[in-house]
């Protein structure tokens, strides 16, 4: 099948294409079939999974937004937000492609002193695409013609060689959805030492010290110099969720405001230990917890004991043991229930890179 397309070269290795009709089944070249699981190394490139929430205001550097995507910047005084936006069926983002959501990044107060500012994703293992030509592609639009660049970071992990950063192609966005593609050959890692937790990082670098609104969808990073039709890393909804949960898993009260989370055994009048089970084996042992609004109960009808802290006692990639501190009143060696205490309650487990 074929599709008509308008293609304009904006730089030696940068392509902006506007699809004017597409079956979504054709490819532009190369030998890669259009819907191959694992072709796209970006997880949640269609921004369909938002375990941490769908709107993030006044974000700080390092904040994770849509699953696997975080922001990274310096400087001061800027006001930024990231939010989930909904495509109107039949309009997303060009004819022939359908998806539910896209990501909007807005800087409403410019701030000052910024030397870097990225929407980024880390891909496990620095050996990914090392010494290979890769093509990055995405759909985007902005409130004005802004520049969006790319940087590829090769991080060699704990105990490994120093990070290597390579500036990739840059694009000038328009105010209408268009697909942008560009390729680059990543450095070899010959002679490098690879430690634990290494990764390849893709940075989409937005304008510094200025205000703008950026919309993005369909981010793909694949081998070769020609972008093939977009597909998620897994090709399925459940597969993509499982991929995301390898790095972060959240139980949320939005699903059930009084959700039962598990049993813990009291160690003292205000402390208990609780071992839980994760749905997917994580990338490594759980590195961090985030939580809000949880309570301990003796039974479902009794008074709750407010939790003041939860920490990792014995970390695990599948079954971590947690240490819980709560208001006093527990009976030592008695089993207690841990529940959500409202629709805004949550408990998250992170093994992000």
């Amino acid at each position: 099948m074929s599709r008509a397309q308008l293609t304009s070269m904006t730089a030696d290795n940068v392509v902006q294409e506007t699809l004017v009709g597409s079956t979504g089944n054709s490819i532009k070249g190369g030998s890669v079939a259009p819907f191959v699981a694992g072709k796209n190394k970006i997880i949640n490139g269609d921004f369909n999974i938002w375990q941490r929430g769908t709107s993030f205001s006044s974000i700080s550097s390092g904040t994770f937004t849509a699953d696997r995507w975080f922001v990274n910047f310096d400087g001061s005084g800027a006001t930024r937000s990231v939010s989930q936006q909904t495509f109107t069926p039949g309009s997303a983002p060009v004819a022939g492609y359908e998806s539910s959501y896209f990501l909007r990044l807005a800087t409403t107060v410019a701030g000052s002193g910024q030397t870097y500012s990225n929407l980024a994703q880390r891909i496990e293992n620095v050996q990914t695409f090392a010494n290979q030509t890769v093509v990055v592609s995405f759909w985007a639009k902005a409130n004005a013609a802004i520049s969006l660049g790319t940087v590829f970071g090769q991080n060699f992990g704990s105990g490994g060689s120093s990070s290597v950063y390579t500036v990739g192609p840059s694009f000038t966005l328009s105010t209408s959805w268009a697909r942008y593609t560009g390729y680059i050959t990543l450095p070899s890692i010959s002679g490098k030492t690879v430690g634990t937790g290494s990764y390849l990082e893709l940075d989409l670098t937005w304008p510094q010290n200025s205000t703008f609104t950026l919309d993005v969808w369909g981010v793909q990073l694949e081998a070769g110099s020609v972008a093939t039709p977009f597909t998620t890393a897994s090709g399925t909804f459940q597969g993509e969720l499982a991929l995301c949960q390898r790095y972060y898993y959240r139980q949320s009260g939005t699903e059930n405001a009084s959700m039962f989370l598990g049993y813990g055994q009291a160690y003292s009048s205000s402390q208990l230990y609780w071992t839980t089970r994760l749905p997917v084996q994580m990338r490594t042992t759980v590195q961090a917890l985030d939580y809000y609004g949880l309570q301990v109960y003796l039974n479902s009808s009794g008074s709750g004991y407010g939790i003041s802290s939860i920490s990792i006692n014995q970390s695990s990639s599948i079954s971590p043991s947690l240490f819980v501190t709560c208001t006093s009143g527990l009976s030592t060696n008695t089993m207690y229930n841990i529940f959500m205490a409202g629709s805004s309650s949550y408990l998250g487990f992170s093994a992000e890179l």
Partner: protein
């Protein structure tokens, strides 16, 4: 402004508890927290930028 405290559980495991302005919490082993702090400083000092100004 986040409030950062350190706790030690009865088995001797040391953790950092970060209390955020909205009342939510983040916790991690102190060794993890220290490693993140060290790598953040390193990254901020070395990361380049593809585009420095709005076109």
């Amino acid at each position: 402004m986040d409030n950062i405290t350190t706790i030690t559980d009865p088995t001797g495991v040391e953790s950092v508890i970060i209390t955020h302005d909205d009342g939510s919490f983040t916790s991690m082993l102190k060794s993890t927290y220290d490693a993140i702090q060290a790598s953040s400083t390193l990254a901020a000092n070395s990361a380049p930028q593809a585009n420095s100004t709005e076109s």
